[in-house]
Amino acid sequence: MLDFVQQLVSGVALGCVYGLIALGFVLVYKATEVVNFAQGDLMMLGGFFAFTFIGMMGLNYWIGFAGAVAAMALFGMLAERVVVRPILGYPQFSIIMVTIGLGYFLRSVAGMIWGTDDLKIETPFSQGVLRVGSLVLAYDKLSVIAATMILCTLLWLFFNKTTLGTAMRASSENMLAAYYMGIPVKRVVSVVWAISAAVATCAGVLLAPITFIHSNVGLVLGLKAFPAAVLGGFGSIPGAVVGGVLIGVIESMAGFYLPEGWKDVAPYIVLLTVLLLKPEGLFGLHVRKKV
């Protein structure tokens, strides 16, 4: 039983990271119908930025964290402006290819700048554990869970209660109609990319104590975040986090109870099953096509 709870908590913590990456997918997808295959790489880059600020320049953890988030938000806007905006409105396949290309580029450049070694960020949560009875919970994992909950609430409030959030939802429904209603669609899309890059950075920095940062971490985790986003139904913010947590728990349980090898495949088997039985996901809307 104790093992089970322990596995559950570490699964939830890992799942929260998947959820945060999936959240980035979902934000961009909701606003622009673009699926950003480079989301994991944005997370990796955010982690490297934080490492530069905290590990190399010796800034305070929180200042470095904020700096990395701000820098990545700008980077997200830049990426949107340079590679995504010119192809909005073209078939989805081209957009997927562009983001795959962007991911390639970011991975290689990060490898060239920061090297290919595993890097570690010293955080206030790195050491120390919380003991509840005989249960031992590491602070770094709890911090991920807490931060995910806070971020998710903030984003939910932002999307449902603010004017800008409403504008984003409108332009995600129908860009042209939103434009006619006076919504500055281009700026809205820009902000969405900034937010999704910022969320990715949070994931990267929170992840840093658990798995180290290296230039391929984004690819590995980004691929795990897809099942999370699909499980939640690609257009839903709470869905992304719930999907992420489910995938994380499934992975960690499969690693503990099933023979070796299942851990890596389990998320994808779940994904394929979900796609087969309920393609719209747990929280997705089912819409019929109008001709």
Partner: protein
């Protein structure tokens, strides 16, 4: 300029629209046939890879280019073909048998992947094919009694009707070329048959195709099966060419490379697969060549523009250091993909058509002829 005057449907679907095609492709085939006697062994080896990649490219074009079903899992089909060949070869099964068996098995697995894909479009399909490929990769690494796991498998020299065909012999090249040409001709015939027209109808509008009486589910599964089977055939040749296969050769990276093949070549014509394959196979030696020679050339240019010998030497060292940076190749790959999608969406073959049309219509060529249409209103979610 030549005007093609078509009087009936047979004229419209001819393999060779006019005699010019026969001459051009005849010359091309003749050049390819004498290639082993002219080119160096290194280039010949690259040419074999071009044939294999082009075969996979054609397979992917059937699925992605003509049926509109994106797949990022073709490395898995290639792997299944390659492993089937390697496994059957251990039991002394003759080449023609395991060649066909590999294609058949991959075709069946492709159809099985096609069934779940029926309900999926766009991004979901891409994600599903990625998951399929990752699961296959894991199975290859774990099913040690058949695949030898991560140790990989050695593939013996191909023997065709009792004659050994080493992987760098001209005969092996002719075999790959024959497979490629047969695939292309077969695909051309497929595309001008009712099946091919159904594929294109599904790509352009699934709803419209269904209303016209096309059995969408059947044709999607067919498209998956045919595409997978051709990839399986290519997998057998791939295994023989490399003579050693292991799971880490068939990663997502390879699937992306195959997509790049058709993306760079052009997704609307079979020419694209061949041009893209040439590009992707030749870019590696080209980059190596640049890496070796570029520093010297740049320093030479700098010296010509009046920089001193010391400065020129300095520049040369700096450029050489930059060129040997780890991962520069990946960055260049990334830039190439992005630039092609942004500025040359029709690919290399599209560029060739533009140049041809420019000279045909000179001086009346308009850039807008090839302009892409932007659609903002349609949300893929509501399809």
């Amino acid at each position: 300029m030549r005007f093609l005057f078509k009087t009936d449907y047979e004229d419209d679907i001819k393999l060779f629209p006019h005699s010019g095609y026969v001459v051009t492709y005849g010359v091309l085939l003749a050049l390819l046939l004498i290639a082993p006697y002219v080119l160096s062994s290194y280039l010949m080896s690259q040419l074999v890879f071009v044939c294999i990649y082009a075969t996979v490219g054609v397979a992917l074009l059937i699925l992605t280019g003509f049926t509109g079903q994106a797949s990022l899992g073709h490395a898995a089909f290639l792997a299944i073909g390659a492993y089937t060949a390697a496994y059957l070869q251990k039991y002394n099964v003759p080449f023609p048998v395991y060649f066909l068996a590999a294609g058949l098995l991959t075709g069946i697995i492709g159809a099985m992947v096609g069934f779940p894909a029926l309900r999926l479009t766009g991004i979901y399909l891409v994600i599903a094919t990625i998951s399929f490929a990752l699961i296959v990769e894991e199975i290859l690494a774990r099913w040690e009694s058949v695949t030898h796991g991560n140790e990989g498998m050695r593939v013996k020299t191909l023997s065709l009707l009792g004659v050994a065909v080493p992987r760098d012999s001209p005969t092996f090249y002719y075999l790959c070329l024959a497979v490629l040409v047969l695939t292309i001709v077969g695909t051309l015939n497929l595309l001008r048959s009712p099946t091919g027209r159904a594929f294109v109808a599904i790509r352009d509008s699934e709803t419209a195709a269904r209303s016209m009486g096309v059995n969408v589910a059947l044709y999607k599964v067919k498209s998956f099966a045919i595409s997978a089977a051709i990839t399986g055939f290519a997998g057998v040749l791939f295994a023989h060419k490399l003579s050693f296969i292991s799971p880490e050769m068939f990663t997502l990276q390879l699937s992306i490379e195959f997509i790049i093949v058709i993306l760079i070549g052009g997704t609307f014509s079979l020419h694209g697969a061949v041009l893209g394959a040439i590009f992707i196979v030749m870019i590696d030696p080209f980059l190596t060549y640049l890496k070796d020679d570029m520093p010297g050339i740049i320093a030479g240019v700098a010296a010509a523009f009046g920089a001193g010998t010391a400065t020129a030497g300095n520049i040369e060292a700096k450029v050489a250091a930059f060129a040997s940076l780890n991962g520069l190749k990946g960055a260049i790959y990334g830039i190439i993909i992005v630039l092609f999608v942004l500025f040359e969406p029709l690919g290399l073959y599209g560029r060739w058509l533009k140049i041809k049309l420019f000279f045909q219509l000179f001086p009346l060529y308009k850039r807008a002829t090839f302009k892409r249409q932007k659609i903002y209103v349609k949300s893929e979610r509501n399809r």
